[in-house]
């Protein structure tokens, strides 16, 4: 499992785990749903205009087995696409701890980025909610800048309640800085 790989530090507490908003996965899975329905839509059209088949001297009854075979094959491939979308959605993750932000970005099956940002290095966090649906459903993008030289920005879109997330990170950051101020040697932990 993931946490065995990340290896949290001693006494490190997970404050929040965030995945993309449910609307993001729903919109993506809708395409799979349409793909699944496509052969049935074609059959429906054929049934609606039975005379068009008789022009070609074709009878659907002769093709039942081939139709079932094709629909099954098409459905399997569509479902594989759906499960790929689900895997990308579920394994894409933000883990906010009292010390770090761990970003797991599952871009593809063979493309996975894991970034770790220490809270004391964070400088600025901004969020953006853009559009009618994101406004009503309260999801958007979160941008953060760190004090590092390269790769100092990170951005994630489609996150639920970005305002609340920003507040959580800001609070965790403040708490972390307070802890470090009291005990400066704590940067290693």
């Amino acid at each position: 499992m993931l946490f065995e790989k990340i290896q949290l530090e001693t006494d490190e507490k997970v404050l929040k785990m965030v995945r993309k908003h449910w609307f993001v996965i729903l919109a993506e899975l809708f395409a799979t749903f349409i793909m699944l329905l496509f052969p049935f839509f074609v059959i429906f059209l054929v049934a609606l205009f039975p005379d068009s088949l008789s022009t070609f001297n074709i009878s659907v009854a002769d093709y039942t087995a081939i139709l079932a075979y094709s629909i099954a094959g098409w459905s399997i491939l569509s479902l594989l696409g759906g499960f790929m979308i689900w895997t990308h959605y579920y394994l894409d993750l933000w883990v906010i701890t009292d010390r770090r932000i761990i970003l797991v970005d599952q871009v593809g099956f063979f493309n996975r980025n894991v970034s770790i940002f220490r809270l004391e290095r964070l400088q600025d966090i901004t969020f953006k909610i853009n559009g009618i649906i994101p406004t009503f459903l309260n999801f958007g993008a979160l941008n953060a800048q760190t004090a590092g030289a390269l790769e100092s920005n990170f951005k994630s879109t489609g996150l639920p309640d970005p305002r609340g997330l920003q507040a959580t990170i800001q609070k965790a950051m403040d708490d972390r800085l307070k802890t470090l101020h009291v005990n400066p040697n704590d940067t290693q932990h």
């Binding site: 499992m1 087995a65 081939i66 099954a72 094959g73 594989l80 499960f83 579920y90």
Partner: protein, 75 residues
């Protein structure tokens, strides 16, 4: 009526085409299943969600594969 026993005008039996198609889908399915299993085992965060994903995956895809296999036998 059109002759459905041969594929196109090439003279390839339809049963062979469907059989090859079935093996092709079966190959893709096997590789995809292995990749899916690896990802969920390695990067999953919740054992319940992982198990549920496996169950739904198998429950939706295996019957379709069986239907495909049966149709290959019929055709």
């Amino acid at each position: 009526m059109m002759d459905v026993s041969t594929f196109s005008n090439l003279g390839i039996p339809l049963s062979l085409v469907t059989q090859l198609g079935f093996y092709f889908v079966l190959g893709i399915y096997a590789v995809f299943t292995a990749i899916l299993y690896y990802h969920w085992q390695s990067y999953g965060t919740d054992a319940k969600v992982t198990s549920l994903t496996y169950i739904v995956y198998l429950a939706t895809t295996v019957p379709l594969l069986i239907v495909m296999g049966l149709m290959v036998l019929i055709i």
